[in-house]
Symmetry: C2
Subunit: 145 residues, 2 copies
DNA sequence: AGGTCATGTAACCAGATTCGTTACACTGGA
DNA sequence: TCCAGTGTAACGAATCTGGTTACATGACCT
């Protein structure tokens, strides 16, 4: 249990919801596909709901569905919904202000890291959930042949 | 002590070495600028040395210097030297192969995440240690005025 | 030769974060 | 009313983080 796999789970969850085409899926069904605990799925769903990406209902006919079309959900939106601060961090102790480097490196590095994170998110912005579904479907078709 | 700040420390360390212009700097001097323990600095220096970015000497006149010109050291090289696997991870449990999503999502997501990481590293590749030094120097000059 | 200083690394610690699990309150429908 | 499902809190084990101590190794200097 080392690294953060919430993004992977979020994409997986949404892919399952998209496959369901409007029929509510329970956290238990989704958890079986992801191979994890239903509570883990519900935690992800809760984050996704706060971001307006899914809708859930309680009760015996409850479950979750996508709140938008798969083509209108970018992986960046999923990423932001579940991973609130990825990537390399800055100093956790402020550096020595008496050294010219220590006095000025933090804002410099901050902007560089910010641009790098933006580049990563742009790459994710170019991929939609519909794209992921398409790739999954074509792989499934290839495997069936 | 939450997130990984080795990259920030690595850039800071190299900036200090570059400021020293060939004169060996001891881990103790560098640690004072970074505001951390000398052993932490030596750990970073050890990774950087394995990547061929710095050279160190023992003994009473020992210390470390850059192995290349600052303009020839990209932040991507520093990043790769100290952060061997950043970013969002895939499933840590393999998903259910009986579900069409679970059966095919891993390679699909893997290639998407790979492209996103490549985009981030490309952004870092466009910045050299010399660029960082230039920004630090101009900020220092502005602060002195 | 001996002393001193600095590197290199192992070992250990506390704090934080991860996900999995249990537990339980709440809710909606049959 | 019962039941199936969500929502969330709480806890635990595994892992990773940087800080610290300790010590062997090596290089210079007198």
């Amino acid at each position: 249990m080392s690294k953060n796999c919430r993004f992977a789970v979020a994409v997986h969850v949404c892919a399952v919801l998209a496959m369901n085409e409007g029929k509510p899926a329970t956290s238990d069904e989704i958890a079986r596909s992801v191979n994890t605990n239903p509570v883990v799925v519900r935690r992800i769903l809760s984050s996704l709901a706060k971001a307006g990406l899914v809708r859930s209902w309680r009760g015996s006919t409850g479950g979750s569905v996508l709140a938008r079309e798969p083509a209108d959900i970018s992986l960046r939106a999923l990423f932001r919904a579940v991973d609130d601060s990825e990537g390399p961090a800055l100093h956790n102790q402020p550096p020595n202000p008496d050294c010219p480097v220590g006095a000025h490196i933090v804002p410099v590095l901050g902007s560089i890291i910010g641009r790098a994170e933006a580049a990563r998110e742009s790459a994710l912005a170019g991929v939609s959930l519909a794209d992921v579904l398409g790739q999954i479907r074509s792989r499934a078709a290839a495997a069936a042949a």
